[in-house]
Structures are given as C-alpha cells and as structure tokens.
Amino acid sequence: MLHLEWAVVTQLDGEKTVAEIADILALSEEESQQIFSKLFEEGLLELVTISPDYLFISSEVLDEIEYELKVLLGPIASILFEDVLNELGKSRDKFDKMSLPILVDLLTTQISDPRKQEEFQKVSLNKIKPYIL
C-alpha cells in the first residue's frame, strides 16, 4: 500500500479532488477510502477551502448575457432572465460558473426563432468560455 500512498501524495496539488486523484491512479473505492483516511489521520494532507472567487462569477457576466438576450428579444428579456434564474434557484450575486451552460440552455428555450437561438448560443458561448474551459 505504501507505493499507492506515495502515488496519492504526488497528486496532491490543492486543486484535484479525491475522485479525480482516484481516477488518475485507477484506485478502487475501498483503496481510496483507506489511503486518504490514513494520510489524513497522519496529518499528511488537509482539506483545502476553495475561495469563492474560484467558484462564483461576477454579476457583470450575467449582465452581458442578459444584454445579448435583450438585443434579440427586447425588454421582455429581463423578465425572462429573472424567471430562469429563479428556476435555477440562483441569484446574480452568487452564481456559480458551472451553472453557466445550463443558464444559456434555459435562456435559449425562451427564444422561439431558431436563427436567434443560434446567434444567442454562439455569442453566449464566447462569453462564458473563459470561465468554464
């Protein structure tokens, strides 16, 4: 087991999750539990608190997406945008970047014209790419 423990230690970088490391090293669930528990108990690893900046995006990004929707749909876009935020159970000031694709997906369903849908998705993808890729 010692070589596996060492392999895990070499993967610890403050960013990878337990699942990601287990995947990289092809560890079984049992092996993962044993190794991580042991390393934790021995004080060789600790949990990292993720900064909110890492998880959430600024409301400006949402404003930009809303603007693109307004260009296509007019003033009603703001109401539709809020409806979708409520549907997702999210707020503008604490919107996690991983929900950006589903936001664009749901906003797209609010657009009936296929060409406008395409346009909106293209522009939105370019806007959200820096945060999700």
Binding site: P101, I102, V104, D105, Q121, K129
Partner: protein, 152 residues
C-alpha cells in the same frame, strides 16, 4: 471536422472522446484522450444509430440522447447528415456539450465547404435495425415492439 466545427470540445476538462459518424456508421473524424480504447468506436456508433432508429419506431423523434453510468456519460447527437458522440466524465455538464455542439452545427449549416467534403465521405443512411445488425434477443424485442404497436 471536429477542429472546424467543435474546436472548444476537446478543451473541456473531462471530455475523453469525440467522434463524428457518417449515416452508415463510418467514422468521419475522431479525437480522444491518449488512454482511450478506440476499438469500441464502431459499436458505439452502431448503438447510437439503433437508439435513434428505435425512437422513430416508437414515434419519438429524438435528436439527442445522454446515457449516464457510474464512470461517466455518453452523449449522442443526431443530425440529418451525421451523428456526433461525446464520451466524458460525469462532471462535464451535458448542457455544455449541447451548447458547443449547437454552435458547431450552426457553423456546419453555413459552411458549404464542410458540407461538400462530408457528402464525398458519406455513403448514405443504413437501416441499423435490420436483423443483420441485431442479435437474437434484440430481434425478438423488436418483433414484440412491432406487435404491441399494431395491437389496438
């Protein structure tokens, strides 16, 4: 084709395989992570075409199917000229795959060049629910399905 239509897809962390199939299940283009076993590609495509054909059989016109399993997910997207399959880890949001592919399909519709080169490569649609593509159990299942749909 992948680099022209879906350049962002290989950059999504967790995406392991992207394949574009002609309607005859020929592989038109493919990209994968180095560790990926590409021997499954023909079966992967065949299964995708069969799922969509079965959907038509039961009067469900599907264009997208996502199959999740304990190690990840398989995303199938049908277009009138080809099929795209993406294999990824579970952490990849299907909505992101859909978005990137939607944008790519929009580019495809605008690009006569890509449409032309695809036309040269592709050999036309095949009926993958024909008995020659099915094992005994699958053939029996389809027969039952046919009788059920015919029974008032």
């Amino acid at each position: 084709m992948i680099s022209e239509l879906f350049p962002d897809l290989p950059q999504v962390e967790g995406v392991e395989l992207i394949t574009i199939y002609g309607l005859d299940n020929e592989i038109l283009d493919s990209w994968s992570q180095p560790h990926f076993n590409r021997q499954i590609l023909p079966d992967l495509g065949l299964n995708g075409f069969q799922i969509f054909s079965l959907g038509e059989r039961v009067k469900q016109s599907l264009s997208e199917v996502v199959l999740t399993h304990e190690k990840g997910q398989i995303y199938y997207r049908r277009h009138r000229d080809f099929m795209v399959v993406v294999i990824s880890k579970l952490k990849v949001d299907a909505a992101l795959i859909r978005l990137i592919i939607n944008v790519g399909l929009g580019e495809y519709e605008k690009s006569k060049k890509i449409q032309k080169s695809l036309k040269k490569m592709s050999r036309g649609a095949v009926n993958f629910l024909d008995n020659k593509y099915l094992d005994d159990l699958e053939a029996e299942f389809l027969e039952k399905l046919k009788h059920q749909s015919e029974t008032p």
